[in-house]
């Protein structure tokens, strides 16, 4: 076969989009292996995350939080990607937009809020929760995910790691290096790429020429799959296969989830500069929460009362987290010096002393001025 034929492969067909529910909630794929309780749990998570996300964006707009990166619209990806992971064992390496998945793995909502309020303490996952701190430098976390899985393999542990990235996150060299290393050393890493069609304002067409991201798997000889990222049951199914394969020694998988963020890239961003209202509405019509709700209702396991209850619970729980986050004291001066090394260097101790003396003098001075 000649080059031309290889390059004439129809990638959209080869990497057909996996789907379980149609946008109106009817089953179009194999019924998922989830109990009604699990289905409801998944639904509750998505609702919770949406409530959390909207609340956080509001806090940010009010200046009660710093710049925030909302994932609204991507809840199915957030929940489905982390749902099957073994807590206390498996690891995730999230971006700034994956604080939904972090919560599903067990990071308290308060931590995420403290992070975006500007407190390093927010990046400290509780013991037993292997959620790495958010990585802002795009795609760097993917090689960390490979390294951790590689270590597990060397230690003969069947830990799985998930590395998150967006469509823009497929462009840096680290994406390539991560997939290549994972393939060569057959690490138990799932690369979960949320293709929300834009990297800030940059559309897919300016990010890559291919019609799919999943086909990049062919460059590493690892499984690749596209999935409807607004269909949580499909995401769950695809991730179950990928996680199980990884855990049983089958190596890495590249997952491309097709999704959309409803809101701005981060608080100051104005998506109207680069997206149309139609595009937004088109995606809102495929909403992941609404889709699952319709399915649950059609299965007869979800009522209006359940719906009311879950939103009430979500709002209350998020409110409590906001309160707790806002009640936290400001990080101390000491905290700035205490954590860089196991033991601060002599130079750091000198600097700490200087700064504390200065701040003490300053607050005395201020006390005098205002007193």
């Amino acid at each position: 076969m000649s080059t031309t034929q290889a390059n004439a492969l129809d990638m959209e067909q080869l990497f057909e989009v996996r789907r379980v529910l149609s946008p109106d909630g009817t089953l179009v794929g194999p019924e998922p292996d989830l109990t009604p309780d699990q289905l409801k749990d998944v639904y509750r998570w998505m609702v919770y995350l949406r409530v959390f996300d909207q609340r956080s964006l509001n806090l940010s707009r009010q200046g009660r939080m710093g710049t925030f990166a909302p994932f609204g619209g991507q809840e199915a990806c957030q929940v489905g990607s982390a749902y099957w992971l073994a807590k206390g064992k498996d690891w995730i390496f999230p971006t700034y937009r994956d604080h939904g998945a972090m919560q599903v793995l067990g990071v308290p909502t308060k931590n995420i809020m403290r992070y975006y309020m500007g407190d390093e303490q927010g990046s400290k996952a509780p013991e037993g929760v292997n959620a790495f701190p958010i990585s802002i430098p795009i795609a760097t976390q993917l090689v960390h995910a490979v390294g951790a899985a590689w270590a597990a393999k060397i230690k003969k542990e069947d830990t799985v790691t998930v590395g998150y990235a967006g469509d823009g996150g497929t462009s840096p060299g680290d994406f390539h290096e991560a997939l290549n290393f994972a393939a060569v050393y057959n690490t138990a890493t799932v690369f979960f790429i949320q293709n929300n069609r834009y990297a800030i304002s940059t559309p897919n067409a300016k990010q890559f020429k291919t019609k799919t991201i999943a086909q990049r798997s062919l460059a590493y000889d690892i499984p690749g799959v596209r999935v409807d990222g607004q269909d949580v049951l499909a995401v769950l199914q695809v991730m179950k296969e990928a996680v199980d394969r990884a855990r049983s020694g089958g190596g890495p998988t590249l997952v491309e989830a097709l999704t959309f963020r409803y809101g701005p890239h981060t608080t100051p961003d104005d998506p109207k500069k680069y997206r149309t209202q139609e595009e937004l509405e088109e995606w809102q019509a495929k909403d992941p929460i609404e889709r699952l709700r319709k399915y649950l209702v059609s299965k007869g396991i979800w009522s209006d009362a359940d719906e009311q209850a879950v939103y009430d619970w979500a709002k209350e729980t998020v409110n409590a987290a906001v309160e707790a986050a806002e009640a936290e004291p400001r990080p101390s001066v000491d905290a700035m010096f205490d954590y860089l090394y196991e033991k601060p260097t002599p130079e750091l101790e000198r600097q700490r002393e200087y700064l504390k003396a200065y701040l003490a003098k300053k607050s005395q001075g201020e006390a005098k001025t205002h007193g």
Binding site: G66, Y115, G168, G169, S171, I200, T202, V333, Q351, L355
Partner: protein, 326 residues
């Protein structure tokens, strides 16, 4: 003359450069239709089209390296790095290729390119958005480093950087982007690279600084005048490489006391080089050790602790007091 903010002056400078030289283009993440996350490139895509206002795939090594390829081919790319911390992936191209190609090709090729880098802290941004990257490069010959502190200089230095046949890191004080307006001439003018400015004249102590902290220094100088009657001379370096040593040394010899201000971590910053240069050229004039007002040897903290980290006028004033009362 129009009164412009610093970011408007940069936007204006870019347009002026692009109108007069068809080889100048801008490239970077979201610099096209979106006009850049700080709006530095607003209107450029509309006026000059997609070939000269290029949105790139998200890969700094790739687009900085590609810009070098463009530059050796005869274009003049002005590359926006979205935030200082994201320059790091391009490090290899900067140190091993861009800084060296004129030298290694004995002048056969050169790299007339500018990297615009929104720099330093003070806007309470997310992690990696408030870095002092100059010190990755001050010990790495081959890259010019320019740092304006006001709208007039921003435009004039940018135009000089674009005209310069060698690669320039153009560090923009993002905290000052919109903090004040100043008169900026229309059309083309340049401010020569490598010439410091006396931002405030004085006789009692010299404050050496650049970029955002020229203003911290000026504020401290006013306080010193008000509280002690001391007149501090504030030297705005404007360019770290080439450096205007003559102006620095002349001022220190005159005032016999010096304070250096920069928000980079204390150890090994360019501020340390300034101390070393004073040691070399004016030690015997000093009445007191040079005082350093700097960041601390920790990463820029998250926003709630940012103010702990950044030099403020109070710390500079204290340093002035220390050298005056030594």
């Amino acid at each position: 003359m129009a009164k412009l903010t610093l970011i408007q002056a940069i936007n204006d400078g870019l347009k002026v450069a692009m109108r007069r030289d068809p080889n100048v283009l801008i490239m970077g993440e979201d610099v096209g239709i979106n006009g850049g996350v700080f709006r530095a490139t607003e209107g450029i895509h509309a006026e000059f089209g997609a070939d000269r206002a290029i949105d790139v795939p998200l890969a700094e090594s790739g687009f900085v390296g590609a810009a070098m390829g463009m530059a050796i081919y005869g274009l003049k790319p002005v590359v926006e790095i979205q935030f200082d911390g994201f320059l790091a992936p391009a490090h290899e191209h900067l140190v091993n290729q861009i800084a060296r190609i004129r030298n290694r090709s004995r002048g056969r090729w050169h790299v007339p390119m500018v990297l615009r880098i929104p720099s330093w802290g003070g806007i309470k941004a997310l992690e990696h958005h408030s870095e002092s990257i100059e010190n990755w490069y001050v010990n790495n010959p081959g890259l010019k480093i320019v740092a304006p502190s006001n709208p007039y200089d921003a435009k004039g230095l940018l135009l000089a950087a674009i005209e310069d046949p060698d690669p320039v890191l153009f560090m923009e004080p993002k905290r000052l982007y919109r903090s004040f307006r100043a008169e900026v001439p229309e059309g083309y003018y340049t401010v020569e690279l490598g010439k410091a400015a006396i931002a405030r004249e004085g006789t009692d102590v010299t404050i050496l600084t650049y970029g955002v902290h020229v203003h911290t220094a000026l504020e401290a100088a006013e306080k010193a005048a008000a509280e002690h009657g001391w007149q501090a001379e504030v030297v705005d370096l404007r360019s770290l490489n080439p450096l205007d040593l003559d102006t620095i040394i002349a001022s220190v010899k005159k005032t016999r006391r010096a304070v250096v201000v920069s928000e980079a971590p204390r150890t090994g910053g360019f501020h340390s080089e300034l101390v070393a240069l004073i040691n070399d050229h004016a030690l015997e004039y000093l009445e007191a050790p040079v005082a350093r007002v700097t960041g601390f040897d920790v990463p820029m903290p998250y926003l709630l602790s940012e103010d702990f980290f950044l030099p403020d006028a109070g710390r500079v004033l204290e340093a002035i007091e220390s050298v005056k009362t030594y």
